[in-house]
Each structure stands twice: as structure tokens, then as C-alpha cells.
Subunit: 255 residues, 4 copies
């Protein structure tokens, strides 16, 4: 299980969300309160849209809390749309390629959760990645496999539909293999403009996911950045929050 954060809206420094809030994402890397484990120390990553059409990535295998480079970058880099992720491995190795977010052209994605029975499902899931995207499969996580599967399932044409298909593909495979361990996930996907934030579980224990809208700013995050929960809304289970900039466009059921 991991913790993540997606931001859209007015241009801000990454540190404004990664370091400054009382329960900032970097604070969550050591002291998460709504996850199975408090420590998310198996690498981290940030991805931001800035000067290029494709996002920039900085992913590292050290814990976020003691990476001096992250502190510098978060203080210098301004963005109107960025992702950040702190990782708690559910079994796969700590390598940069296994750190989120993942990026392909102008697209970016990140994930929290677990595909039950992934050891048995890795190969069938990878079979749903097209040859052209398989070249970019650099790690071994379920998260990265889900990201590249989406393209094959029509992400570029209809993101919500692709997300629905991804969920049903995973659950169908689990049934075929008679896997009873659940599929639980939150996921953020963006084309650089619109943001799709999924919260789902095959049982009824979806990982937590919140959003907060403030003047010119939208934050979607595994755990609220403040202890006071005023203004933080839960994304309903099995729904996708669709937003653009700081505007929530829709919250749609995937079922």
C-alpha cells in the first residue's frame, strides 16, 4: 500500500503540498494513518507538467523523508498539474522502475493498492499490454502493468471506459484463476489536462481517497493533508472523479 497525491489548478511549488502541510505527503511517508502500514519508505516519485508536453519525472529508491534532492526540487519546481507518490512495496523490489508515477508521452499514472494473486496474474495482465507499450514496461509491479494495459483498453479515446475495462479485466482474470484475494485500488490517470481518480475494491474495502477543492486548487489524495477534515470529501467506492484544472467535472460510477 502506498500514499499518493494529485494536484491541479493554479501554479504552485511542489513543496506547498509535499512538505508544508501538517500531514503532508512526505509526513505520510513516515506516519500514514489510514493505510495498513504507517511507513511508505520503499521509494517515491514525483511527476509534473511544466515546460514540455510530456511530464518530468523524478523517482528515487530512498525514502522520501530523507532525500535531499526531493527537498530541493520541490522548492524550485512550480507546476499547475503534478503527481507525487510514496511507496510501500507489496512484494516487488525497490527500484526506480517500480516507483510511481509512470509516464508515456503526455500521459501519467500512479496507483495504490494490490491485485490479489498478482504472482499468478502478472503474465496474463502483461498479455493485455500492446507490443508498442510493452517496450516501456521497465519494472515488475502490478501498478505499471495496469497503467500500460489501459492504453490497450482505449485510454486515449475514452479514459473512463478504459478504466472500467481494466477493472473488469483484472476481476475476470482473478475469477478464472480462482483467486479469492481482493483487487483493491486507487489510481490517478491524466493526459496532462483532465484527471481521472479511481477508487475501487472487488470487496468493500477500497483504500481511502479524498478530494478537496479550494479557490483555484484541486487536490486528490490518499489521506487529507490536514488533521482537521473539514472540506475533505471521500471519493465514493467504485467511482471515478473526473476533473480538469481545479474543477470537478463529474463523479461517475464504474459499474
Amino acid at each position: 500500500m502506498c500514499r499518493w497525491l494529485a494536484y491541479s489548478g493554479d501554479e504552485i511549488f511542489l513543496e506547498d503540498l509535499l512538505f508544508k502541510p501538517e500531514h503532508s505527503l512526505v509526513e505520510q511517508s513516515q506516519h500514514a494513518t489510514e493505510a495498513k502500514v504507517a511507513t511508505n519508505g520503499d521509494g517515491f516519485g514525483v511527476g509534473w507538467y511544466g515546460q514540455q508536453e510530456e511530464p518530468g519525472l523524478y523517482r528515487e529508491i530512498m525514502p522520501a523523508w530523507n532525500d535531499c534532492n526531493l527537498r530541493h526540487l520541490a522548492r524550485q519546481i512550480k507546476s499547475s498539474h503534478f503527481f507525487a507518490h510514496v511507496r510501500a512495496s507489496t512484494g516487488t523490489a525497490t527500484s526506480r522502475a517500480n516507483c510511481h508515477p509512470f509516464a508515456y508521452e503526455n500521459w501519467m499514472g500512479m496507483h495504490n493498492g494490490q491485485v490479489g494473486g498478482y504472482e499468478q496474474l502478472r503474465r496474463p495482465l502483461e498479455a493485455h499490454i500492446s507490443d508498442c507499450h510493452y517496450l516501456n514496461r521497465m519494472g515488475t509491479t502490478d501498478s505499471e502493468a495496469l497503467f500500460y494495459m489501459l492504453f490497450c483498453l482505449g485510454l486515449e479515446e475514452n479514459p473512463v471506459k478504459a478504466i472500467c475495462r481494466m477493472v473488469s479485466t483484472v476481476e475476470t482474470l482473478q475469477k478464472e484463476k480462482e483467486i479469492t484475494a481482493p483487487f483493491r485500488c486507487t489510481m490517478a490517470i491524466t493526459d496532462g489536462k483532465r484527471l481521472f481518480s479511481l477508487r475501487h475494491a472487488s470487496d468493500s474495502y477500497a483504500p481511502s481517497l479524498y478530494w478537496q477543492k479550494q479557490e483555484g486548487r484541486l487536490v486528490v489524495v490518499s489521506e487529507p493533508l490536514s488533521v482537521d477534515r473539514t472540506g475533505w470529501n471521500k471519493v465514493p467506492e467504485s467511482h471515478v472523479l473526473i476533473s480538469e484544472g481545479s474543477e470537478v467535472l463529474d463523479i461517475v460510477s464504474i459499474q
Copy 2:
């Protein structure tokens, strides 16, 4: 604050203490129970006596819990005398040079605790390191400074006396600088044969330190390796436990 472990006695695999016990040192790297912080993820190290007069060292900046090399080494390396340490930084950087243990010729040392006011004391403490040992000062921690200071204070002639002098040197410097933050520490020092395990605080809150003697085996450790505390003895505050192989030779007051 950190967690450490020192072993002497019959030759065993490092994994027998680092991974196998229910509250093993690697388990303590994520879930310490008697430290200020539960997570000791700012690097780690092992040092062992084996085929050479000087110890071997393996120190790494990743958390111990997700380092696959450590798992391999702990499974292959057997030793009758070794140290292991998981680090929670009290401010200094995460680098190999700041990871414990430290070694010089046949000597090895490691530390848990904090020198109150270290920012002001770093330089005066380093002034107590001789030129020849200063060449081996590779990091910036208080721990490493204390280790090299000991040589100047007569470690090779009389280790207990050197330890006493080290403690009083630190506390004298703190008084001179009017530092009220305490000096709290546990420390293990060995010449490859005898082991000196210090527990001390300038106030009365010394970090925890336990020892356990079993048939042919002596373990000194920040926290017991089992949940059941039977057979685990506390090292008294301001005392040095002196041992050789699996035998406790003495427990002496440093005051």
C-alpha cells in the same frame, strides 16, 4: 535514535539474529517498540569478524528491510562476533559514511543516541580526534566522532577508562557551551575479542539496552529479539557490560 545488536559466541549465520527472530533487528528497522521513533530507515550496516584481523563492513543507505543484498549476505556469512545497526537519523545525512558500524584496524564501534547540542559541539568534539584518526573521519555524525575520540582517550590501553573519559569530555563540553539538551547513548566497542557495551545518559533517560546469555551465545541489543522478555537483562544506566565470547566478564559503573 537507532537500534543495534552485538553478538559473540559460537559461529552463527548473521540471518539467525538479523532476520529469523520474531522481533529481529530487521523487524525493528520498521517496528521498533522502545525507541522514540518506530522506523529506523535511514541506512544500516553490519560488521563482522571473519577471515581477516579487521572486520568486514557492509553499509547501505537503503532501509534494511528492503535490501536484497543484506538478505543474501546474512544468509551466507557466518561469524562468531558481529555487529548490526539500523539507523534513524537525528539530522545528519543518509550516506554510507554516516552508517554504523565504524571500523579502524581491528576495532569496531556503533552507537545509538544523541549528543544534545551537537551542532555546536561537532567541532570541539572533532578536536579530540588525533590527526591520524581524523583521516578516517568520513562522515558527519556525532557517533563517528565519538568512536574516533576514544582512540585519543586511550581506547587501546584501557577501553573502560577511555569510555569514561569520552562521556566526561562530552558532558564537560556541553556544560561549557551551556547546552541543556542531554547526552544519551548506548555504544558497543570491540577490539575483535572483548566487547564493551555502554548504556548512559546525562539525565536519567538512557536508551534501552539488553543482554541475553544462552549456551555459547551472548547478545547485546537495543530491544529484545523476542516478545517474551524472559532471559533478557537490562544493562544498568551508566554502566559498561564487559564480555568476551559468550561470557560476561563484568558490569562496571562509569561514575
Copy 3:
């Protein structure tokens, strides 16, 4: 292209071959003379048989020449059978999982060379890995794929036959995809006892591979460890050198 070394015979320290010879493997990591590139700085690894049936592994993403842990381990670890490898990436990332050697149970393998057109062949090559071995596929290199393919091709029953089949599988796939870039490789495979050292190219430019037999010691290596080449024999192209301990059992053609 990379540089590697395999040793069998009397128990020696790893440093005796990794650091001490004038053109040691670590020296070759900076100044290789028979490779396309002089620098092999994209990670390294050692694997050795010691206290367990399966080998120990130490793989790291830093260059071998500046890794202080390697220096320590090579000075402490004695083995009668070990592999060492310094890596120059031909495109894939620098991660521990992409560093050689690879190990599975009592087996170990490492590789130098390149599968021409690997970008197109990665997926079809992986299709030759059985489900059970695919779980251990942790990286993205051609080298690791070739290693796990071997098991599917009968490695455990007849290693030389498996190696022949691996070569012909690769070359058949290259033909099918109309890839004209060659398949060039040297590879060392062992079950912990016998050593199989392949030198091959689909054109006639196989990477260099030498062996030297001395009293109680056999070394197979990409480049001789001494400037003086006396006593260093070339493994013929498209042949496998079969050895056990310090004895060469056979040198067989794979065609």
C-alpha cells in the same frame, strides 16, 4: 557489452581475482581493452557458493571501482566457485535486477553480449520462460531472459543441449523478425559444480573469452587478468567449455 569472470578450484578470496591482478576485473570496469567500450560502469555483481546450496549474490548499481562494500566483501569472502560481472548497459536501465549474475536455486548465470533487435524480441524471448521461472524475472535485460529460458530448454537435464537450443531459438526468432543485427554472446552457467562457458556469435565476431588453468585453479574471463598472455587460451567461437573445479572436462561445438 560487459566483462565477466568465473572461477573454480581451491578456495580463494574474491579479491584475489577482483582486485589484486594487474588487469583485474575491477580494473577492467574502468579500462577494458578488448570490448567495444572501455568503461563498464553500469552496475556490477558477484555470486559465490559458500555456506548454502544456493549462491550468495551481491549486486549494486554503482560502478565496481568505487564501491567500498565490494572491497570489504571481496576481502572477507572465500569461495571455491564464484562469478563476477561488471556491466556496460546496451540500453536497459541500471538497476540491481539488471545486474548479473542471476541465480535460481543452485543455478547461476551471467552474460556478455547483445541480442540484435532485442526491442522486438523481448516479448517472444520471454514467451520461452516457463510460468514458474517467470516469477523470478525481475529485470528487463536480454541476459536475464536468456538465463530463465535455459530452464525451459532442459538446462537441468542437459546443459549443453539447453545452451544449443537457446542459441538456435534466438537466431530463429531473429530470422522470423528479419533482424539482421547479430546475436553475440559469452555466457557462464553453473549448477554450483560444473561450469559451462559459451562463446558464440551469429556472425563471426564473438566477444572475447579466455581460460587459464593453473595448479588447482581455473579462471574463465572476458579478458586475461595479466598483460602477459602466456597461459591464457581462447575459447573457440561457437563452443562451450565444460569444467568442474579446476579441471577442463571438454570443449564442445554447439553446431
Copy 4:
């Protein structure tokens, strides 16, 4: 010996100098042509002025040529004033703290060369660092010591005079200790506006240093970024090139 680059002028992407030129700094990390060693693989760093008064830093222990984060950052970050450095250690460890550039408030510095007899001089050199700057001494290199010494020698009041004093301090100490190994260095120092580029040696073998002025751009660099040397000027030995933005203000002798 290392290779470095300093840029001032119109805002450009870091990649325009780090990756794109035929003999770019990253290319020089593997294939330097005017240095004692061709490989500068012992870490690297970039420092740039952007959104804050103090520079941002990204320093890493991997070789520059295989760091995917650097590629991303260099493609996203634009700056009108930045430093970049690829390191070949002359003995000290590969750690982030030993990577250049070094930064203090709005100041930044980097270095190439060697203080002959540094093992003997480390301590006396450090004695020239004020207490307040000593807190920021995080590594063990001569380079970082020289940088912090400069503040004590009046850097903030008169940079050229401080540089002269630094040189004479080093050379005086060398004489006192009867060290015959030379002091050779190039160094870049900036307050974020003006750039001071020193080339000096105590014998007559100063490391190479070039500058090139083009429309709106000034580059100072260890080796020209192109094979064609047209437009590249050598900084004379024992001189400091003083520039601001793309303008060369003066080239002054330090003797």
C-alpha cells in the same frame, strides 16, 4: 579530476548543454579528452538559479550518463544561470555530499583539480572555515573545504580577493608541511549574478578551462562542447574570468 560547466545568459534548458552538444558534459562524463582520466563516473551534480534566491541542487552518486532522473530534469528545467559537474574522485568517497556544486544561501561553487597532500592538509584547511559555515561542511572533499574557506576570506565583500587569498592559503600550508605535490585547480563561484571562474596551478600545469561567448550566452567549461574549437578561448593560467550574464567583465591575474 572532474569536468564542469557554468552557464549564464538567456534562459535555456539544462539539456541544451548537458546532453545536446556533440561533446556535451554528459558525453564528457564517459569520454573526457583533456583530463587525466576519460571517465568521470563518481557522481555528478547540477545547481541552477530559478524560482528562489538560493539555487536548486540535484546531486547523485550514479554516473551522469545513466541517470534517468538527470535526463528528465535537464529537459524540464530552464535557467539563465546554472552549474553542472561530473566527478572523478581523487580518493574521497562517492556520496552526494562529495558531489559538486556546493551551495550556501545565494552562493554556489564547484571545483576541478587537486590539492597536493590533501590528506595532511584537510584539517588545517578546515580550520580556515568559520564555525557558522562549518555546520554546512557535509562531505570530506578538498573542493568543499575550499568553497567554505572562501567565505572566511571575504568572498561576500570581494570575491576575487577571497580567491587570491584562498590560493595563497593553500600554497602556504603546502609549504609549511613541505608538500611538493602541486595545487592545481579550476573553480567556479557565483553569487547568483556574477560568475568568477578561476584557472590556476602552483606548477605550470593548470587544468584546462575554456569560455565561449555567443549571442546572449556565456559558457565556461573544462572542455569545449564541440570538436571544432572555433570560438573557444582558454582562460589564462592564474587568472579569474569575471562575467555577469553573457558579458565578460574582466579577466584578472591572481598574482
